[in-house]
């Protein structure tokens, strides 16, 4: 059974600081996704990582994938308040996604 663990579950940070969210998974996967969710809203796709060593960047967010370590990271550079949200990683295996528990990010001015 595929297990996906995210940490930390909650992250409070100051604007301008850097931080990393970690996503570990237990078995071989097809691809890994990162999503953002604002309160009361649906999930917004941020990144899809397809292969070992994949790195994708969009603005202040950068995601990477190490399939050998079964680890993905979401790095936040110089955080701004607008990045406050809950972030999920999700691992695809077979026909379905298995989600991590989410990281609630709060960026304080």
């Amino acid at each position: 059974e595929l297990k996906v663990e995210q940490n930390p579950l909650f992250l409070s940070m100051q604007e301008g600081k850097n931080y990393t969210i970690y996503c570990n998974y237990s078995t071989t996967s097809d691809r890994l996704y990162w999503y953002r969710q604002d309160p009361g809203k649906s999930l917004e796709s941020l990144f899809v990582l397809l292969s070992n060593g994949a790195v994708k960047q969009e603005g202040r967010l950068m995601a990477s994938l190490d399939t050998k370590a079964r680890l993905s990271t979401l790095h936040i550079t110089a955080a701004v308040h607008d990045l406050s949200a809950t972030y999920f990683c999700a691992v695809e295996a077979g026909n379905m996604l298995t989600f991590g528990g989410g990281t609630r990010l709060m960026v304080k001015p």
Binding site: Q6, L9, K41, S45, F88, A90, N95, F99
Partner: protein, 112 residues
């Protein structure tokens, strides 16, 4: 989200009553999924469909059934709602599992 609609958006129901949630898509995607979201658990797969009348169970399928009689509609039924089924339910669609997923806006269900 464009192309995928969930109804109702909110529902309060009593324990023991049947409840049906609807997911409607206009994208003609083959795969449809039902997830539930609870604090600390992320989203967990309830059931999914890979074609008309083709469905399979997910991680947390007990107490739920689904039906897909046409490509565009995927129904989730709680035969006898319980308080543990209070949750936010998301539908997702995918053309194939390799082409990414689009999520609906969610249905907030409260069982009292």
């Amino acid at each position: 989200d464009a192309g995928i609609t969930q109804s109702p958006r909110h529902k309060v129901t009593e324990t023991g009553t049947p409840v049906t949630l609807r997911c409607h898509q206009t994208e003609n995607h083959r795969y449809m999924y039902w997830y539930r979201q609870d604090p600390g658990h992320g989203l967990r797969l309830i059931h999914y469909s890979y074609g008309v009348k083709d469905t399979d169970k997910g991680e947390v399928s007990d107490g739920y059934s689904v039906s897909r009689s046409k490509t565009e509609d995927f129904l989730l039924t709680l035969e006898s709602a319980t308080s543990s089924q209070t949750s936010v339910y998301f539908c997702a669609i995918s053309q194939t599992p390799n082409y990414g997923y689009t999520f609906g806006s969610g249905t907030r269900l409260t069982v009292v």
